[in-house]
């Protein structure tokens, strides 16, 4: 199914679909157009609550230090090359492919303003893929900035 998303016009930054608010808005729209009875106009108020409140439960804040540590750990666990973290096209946008590395203390470029995660010296926010039954967030980012896809 994710292949369908790649065919969509490039207009918005994130690729998430928000289904409950969208369905509620559609009810209100159809009601206003007299395709549905008019007593469904309260769907707008429902939509506003979902749109403003639901995402907060999925919010994950992460420091750039923590983000870097997780990436390094992932590289190791997945048996991938640390070169993926550095150099042109990598998350830090550096053009020097030999910069950084496991033991280097060179700047990783995490303060690059285009970084989704780790941008700036402080905390970044992303939204979890899902919540578990105990409402803990599954800390996998399900959104991309399309700028990254172009780099």
């Amino acid at each position: 199914m994710c292949l369908l998303l790649l065919l969509m016009p490039v207009e918005a930054l994130t690729m998430s679909a928000a289904l409950i608010p969208a369905a509620l808005r559609a009810i209100a729209t159809l009601s206003a157009a007299n395709i549905l009875p008019s007593n469904y106009s309260n769907a707008t108020q429902y939509a506003e609550v979902w749109e403003t409140q639901a995402s907060t439960f999925f919010q994950v804040d992460i420091s750039s230090t923590n983000a870097q540590a997780r990436l390094n750990n992932y590289i190791q666990q997945s048996n991938l090359s640390s070169a993926l973290l550095y150099g042109a096209g990598s998350l830090n946008g550096s053009s020097n492919s030999s910069a950084g590395g496991m033991s280097g203390n060179m700047s990783l470029g995490w303060d690059d303003s285009t970084q989704l995660i780790g941008g700036g010296p402080d905390v970044s926010t992303f939204y979890a893929l899902s919540l578990k039954a105990d409402f803990s967030p599954v800390e996998v980012s399900r959104q991309w900035k399309l700028e990254h896809a172009d780099e």
């Binding site: 199914m1 994710c2 369908l4 065919l7 969509m8 207009e11 918005a12 930054l13 994130t14 690729m15 998430s16 679909a17 928000a18 289904l19 409950i20 608010p21 969208a22 369905a23 509620l24 808005r25 559609a26 009810i27 209100a28 729209t29 159809l30 206003a32 157009a33 395709i35 549905l36 009875p37 469904y40 769907a43 108020q45 429902y46 609550v49 979902w50 749109e51 409140q53 639901a54 995402s55 439960f57 999925f58 939204y127 979890a128 893929l129 899902s130 919540l131 578990k132 039954a133 409402f135 967030p137 599954v138 996998v140 399900r142 959104q143």
Partner: protein, 367 residues
Amino acid sequence: MSQTDPPSSLMLSCPPVLADADIVVGSVRTLRDYVESGGNVTNSIFNYTLGNYNDSSVQLVRKWINGTTVQYLSFDAVSGGSFNVTPSTNVTLPPNIAFSLSTPDTNATLRFTTSYNFTGTTPETPYQPLQGLDRASLFLTSAPDNSTAILGNVLSAIQGPGSAIADQTSFLAYTDRFFAGGWRFLTYFGRDTLLALRLLLPVISPTSAEAILGAVLERVNETGTICHEETVGDYASFVNIQNNQSELGNTPVYNYVMLDTDFLLLPVLADYFLTTPQGANRSMDFLAQNSTLKNGTFSQLLIENVNHVLNLSRAFAEDPVRENLVPIRDPTVGNWRDSSSGLGYGIYPFDVESECACFFFSCPLKR
């Protein structure tokens, strides 16, 4: 699938004796079970038998579970090769079929043909062929007034000669439903067809848009839940037997497990009728139609889904605490990621609950 398919030939250039291969004859779901399990999932109820054979042809025969249909799969050695068929002494085991080249390193031509004989149709089990839509019925044949030049170009390309993609898409398009894809998903799927409709809105014909919407509405259940998948044909007989309901024969089986699907109908229906030129002023006639699968008009079935959406969203709307978010219904699946690992083993999908720059599903008034 119905009627006789034209024979297909394939050229073989291979070692003198073909490598071992399994033959599976049956419905798409049967083949999917077998392929997706790596050849482990089979059921003897789907076994075929050996029909006529000689050194130039072999026929395999399979009767549907409900006895209404017989399927034949035939192989013919057209040139350059021959068969050696050894029936199994154990009737539950398949025959050994060897195809050998007449001359080493020389091409052979092998033809296979599949056909169906609908022998046992009754008033209760009539043969109801699907009526397909060709590309002229699937896509707009000309750009609506005030369209962009780009849309005109796209439609010309779709309807133009040699547009293979249009013909391939139309293979999935029928007057009363669309299929999700070939070969493994040749049946109704709610999510797939509603998402496809949304993507195709600029170019899709009213006939097709309403075939998709109508198929979804006809399968809405009594709680307003939208059907995820329909199981038909011979495999439906198998499922009904598994469910201790063999008396249902091959009555279709409907699956309502997916959560995200419940919310996919309303946005695209609104967009179609209210924002597309080809959908304008068509909603009244469309919604007045009677469903053929269950009692009620499309309007009544739509309202069932509206009430269902409101019922699911009301608790959080009135008290936005996390306990009032809407979890998936099944322990492992429920949204387009379609697997427990796809959701990271969570049960509240972000896609369903929340919103970030929602352009894909947003409705006219929101833009």
